[in-house]
Assembly symmetry: C2
Homo-oligomer: 380 residues x 2
């Protein structure tokens, strides 16, 4: 990067939520001037940046006008206007991840085609157009239907158990995927800078809250065999290299009961499955993303301790001004780090924060995380 960025680089972030907020917490160390665009006038980043603009992330003019005076743009959410980013790139603004990468990842159909073309293991799939629908499919039940666009946090995904479910299935362009009989959801975050340096964080294990369909509990590092971990890392590196991405890429994978690894989804940005790196690893995912997009040497990703991350979700049945119960009690537990996201309003299962629990002993970290989970509540 030609620009001497310590002090005069203007970095735009599309999205002003918690990922942007944690990215800013780290970017402060590099004197970067931060500009944020978000549709919510109370977005978590609002008070923490040089310039905050309220506007639609999917509107061409809004994104283009926001970006055109900036030196570099990054994202904290994929659902952004890619045409505007492409035009900005053409005009010399650095866009990391690149618009073509965001365009590909925005569409689960293109993602799956990319996996297929590049020999990246993934569950068998088929396109479903709006017109034909699921009636034409002769797969055995159950299988999964996913909207090609705009799904997130489990939204845009349906399980099709029988022909009766065809009526309630999505009618928008989607893919269907064979159900994976997985043993565990695993994740690897990989970073690549413009020099082509590639570095992975150690593999993590995720546990989902089936009701909220969110990562609720994450354990780092994984205790699966070195072979499995090495294979997952190789897959993540291969994807980063095949995409030639600049920035962070979260690779969500299934480990099947037969020991096979299948790539589920990609996110070209800091990710919920990497929050524990803030305290658990030498370099955090946010610092690594900055190093990658600034084309700096990538940081050491070693684990410092065992780390468990739990999402702090709005309690079911409560909506309104958020109140946090139990913060004092959980801070009395050793190795507990609280991250609240500055959201005024809680809703059932809304991500209001996360807690990272570190310990030299894995089982103690998990036990302490369970304690935190039982104590901390977000109500209204």
């Amino acid at each position: 990067m030609g620009k001497d960025f310590y002090g005069d680089l203007r970095l735009g972030i599309l999205g002003g939520g918690q990922l942007g907020r944690m990215l800013i917490q780290d970017a402060i160390n590099y004197n970067v001037s931060i500009h944020v665009l978000d549709p919510d006038q109370n977005a978590p980043c609002k008070r923490l940046c040089n310039h905050f603009e309220v506007g639609s992330l999917s509107d061409f003019d809004t994104v283009y006008n926001f970006g055109k005076g900036l030196d570099m743009i990054t994202i904290e959410i994929e659902k952004v206007n890619v045409d505007a980013l492409e035009k900005l790139e053409d005009e010399g603004v650095l866009v990391y991840p690149q618009s073509r990468v965001i365009r590909l990842i925005q569409d689960k159909g293109l993602q799956k085609q990319f996996f297929k073309q590049n020999d990246i293991p993934t569950a068998p799939f088929q396109f479903v157009s709006a017109n034909e629908g699921l009636q034409q499919i002769d797969w055995s039940f159950p299988y999964i239907q996913k909207l090609r666009k705009d799904g997130y946090d489990g939204k845009g995904v349906k399980k099709i158990n029988s022909a009766a479910d065809h009526k309630t299935a999505f009618s928008e362009p989607s893919i269907i995927e064979k159900m994976v009989d997985f043993e565990k959801e695993i994740g690897i975050i990989v970073a690549r800078n413009d020099h082509g340096d590639v570095s992975t964080f150690p593999m993590v294990e995720m546990e989902f809250n089936p009701q909220a369909n969110l990562v609720e509990f994450l354990i780092s590092p994984s205790t699966y065999s070195e072979e499995i971990q090495a294979e997952a890392e190789e897959i993540a590196k291969k994807i980063a290299n095949d995409l030639q991405i600049v920035g962070l890429l979260a690779v969500e994978m299934f480990l099947t009961k037969t020991g096979e690894i299948l790539v589920n989804e990609l996110a070209p940005r800091p990710h919920n499955s990497g929050h524990q790196t803030i305290e658990g690893n030498v370099t955090s995912q946010f610092n690594q993303h900055l190093r990658a997009i600034f084309n700096l040497p990538l940081g050491n990703t070693d684990n410092l301790q065992h780390a468990v991350m739990i999402n702090v979700l709005g309690e079911d049945g409560y909506e309104g001004l958020a109140k946090y119960e139990g913060v004092e009690d959980i801070l009395a537990i050793e190795g507990v780090y609280v991250h609240l996201y500055g959201k005024k309003i809680t809703k059932p299962f809304r991500k209001m924060g996360h807690v990272c629990i570190v310990n030299e002993d894995r089982e103690t970290a998990i036990a302490n995380a369970r304690k935190v989970q039982s104590i901390l509540k977000v109500i209204a």
Copy 2:
């Protein structure tokens, strides 16, 4: 603290420099609404808070008006109007550290008297009034003269080598102190919350830049004997308890060549000698200060690794818009964390940032810190 502070507590910080900036980086995790007062309209905190006000920290009305709508006030610099803080305390604003603690510590004469009254070991001293001056002193040369007020970073301190130096000595109220033949400057940061919980960070060793008279190099943890470390910790805890301070207290001490510990100075706030705790310890000094003033359980202060902190000072001979040379090169060294303070203008020896270097091996950490020191330059 009665207030449910996650979301609605308004915390004022007197001073918007790097200490406030790093405090904000951590306070973001607790949803605190931050208000900052600083005389410099380009202060490092300016863009990172809910409300930034330009104004004098020593003016009664300015400080009082800034503070009167807030729930809690803390400081990042001692030189503030204490009368205003006292009035705010009377009116129910929580001021941590308390105004009486700041008042005592602002005046090196009162500090020394406090040490004497509480049997805290310190170098012999004597008051020098403006009128009498040094001519009346019959001490053998050399000795040290310190202004009672407003000295910082080595300013306000003079070595009196002979009677000839009397002419250039300070004429303001000051103290004189016997020279301490010290082996090492050591430091302990202690925290105390309103429940009376007290916790110390492990002892650190400091190396000064004699030209700039600033901490330039700091090593944590110390390798002095457990007895010496335990003694230093006991002294720090005793001072925190004797003062009944709420918040962080940095205790700077001399370890003499005969193994005696003498307290040099106090700072009732996060301190340069604790920056390495951000990466080097389970809890950072900034997080600990927040825990203390919010009356939360204090965090574990254990070292994670050996950590060396170096101040990044403006290169001698350069003044103007700051440029940073060598950032890319130092980030290629393992375990290097860069913290720039967002100051536009560099001046000789101005604190522009710091770098923390961590390693499992102490000697490697020191060697890497020396490399960083030789590579990184702030010029104009």
